[in-house]
Symmetry: C2
Subunit: 194 residues, 2 copies
DNA sequence: CTGTCAATTGACACAGTGTAAAGTTAATAA
DNA sequence: TTATTAACTTTACACTGTGTCAATTGACAG
């Protein structure tokens, strides 16, 4: 099952992960990854076509390791729409710091690398669907704010919960993680729920 | 008054501006700017130390040409805090599309270029002060939402009005400019005003 | 013994930024 | 007039980082 090729692949992803996690924003080069993975730089190209491919694969790997799917699934089990919304914000809000450093590498090339932009877009699509589902649950309870259509409400929630907003609030404004979660719940409730 | 050196400098900034405006996201190289400005690539370095310096100077130049200062000042003349908040959102919201393309070039290197990050931070600091002042006016009317401290309210408004959020809502979610302005006013009011 | 898979070494093309040096041109000043 | 200076040009090159290519090695499977 675990072919040698696959082992090395995972090895590369873990090396990238660790580097992004510890490097604190510094650009990680192919040669850095190779060194950390204990293979030659050229060997990286036996497993991935481009640097961006490695970054993308790493974010997916990290999602996997952290069980993003499960975390979000749990929010779907809530009874009321409002509870579901809160659970969703809670799950995602607690998730962001775990992926932030890795995601940042992808965010950094988003504006210049079409492949990265595409991958990120897809990844955020999942979140967007989660937002939409949560707001739909609120709507089904008849509790959606009359100020917004369902679509607009979902868009706003999605924007509110963006990684860049988390970055702004916790890094630039100095909010604690608790502040962030509490205020996002508060805001979503005030803004979107009747 | 208008030395030859200064003329060329402005010439470079206008060339950069036009390229960013029309290039639609494509990376603008030093050679592109030089060609457009009608000078040699090397001459650029007689006026600016680095590419980032040109980008920074261009954003400042564009702010200047568009009269950002004046636009924001007008919002300060409103009578009530709430009116002031609305005027502020209106002014800034209408301003974003005018600077978006130019700003995007700076945003694109934000995560890799410390000088760019610094410049952007400073530029956003002005907006942040505007947000704080607007919320202070609301607070002085005794109309600040009891859900937030003044500082937190200003932080939220600042985050809400970020260029990245405008980008998300208008580009990814397909909102029109009118949608954006209307919903931002609506949201700020619901969220931050009693 | 042979084939093949994973990886290695070393060389290289390419893009883009930034540096360096020597030469041109036109205005300015003595 | 001649000398000087500022702005700019041309040519060349160093540097970084990505990605490609070809020849080679070592292991191990049939």
């Amino acid at each position: 099952m675990s072919s040698k090729k696959n082992d090395t692949r995972v090895n590369i992803l873990r090396a990238t992960w660790k580097l992004l996690e510890s490097g604190q924003g510094k650009a990680v080069r192919m040669s850095d990854i190779a060194k950390r993975a204990g293979i030659s730089r050229q060997a990286l190209y036996l497993h991935f076509k481009t640097r961006t491919d490695i970054l993308i694969a790493t974010t997916l790997y990290v999602d996997d390791m952290n069980g993003l799917e499960n975390r979000l699934r749990k929010s779907r089990e809530a009874n009321t729409g409002h509870e579901r919304l809160e659970a969703f914000i809670d799950a995602w809000g607690k998730y962001i710091p775990e992926i932030y450093n890795v995601s940042k590498a992808l965010l950094a090339v988003l504006d210049t690398d079409a492949a990265a932009a595409n991958a990120w877009k897809g990844r955020m699509q999942a979140l967007r669907e989660g937002c939409h589902a949560a707001m739909e649950a609120v709507n089904n309870d008849g509790m959606l704010s009359p100020n917004f259509t369902l679509k607009k409400a979902a868009d706003i929630l999605w924007t509110l919960l963006s990684v860049r907003n988390w970055e702004l609030l916790t890094q630039d404004c100095g909010w604690s993680q608790e502040d962030y979660i509490r205020n996002m719940k508060q805001s979503a409730r005030t803004l979107l729920v009747k």
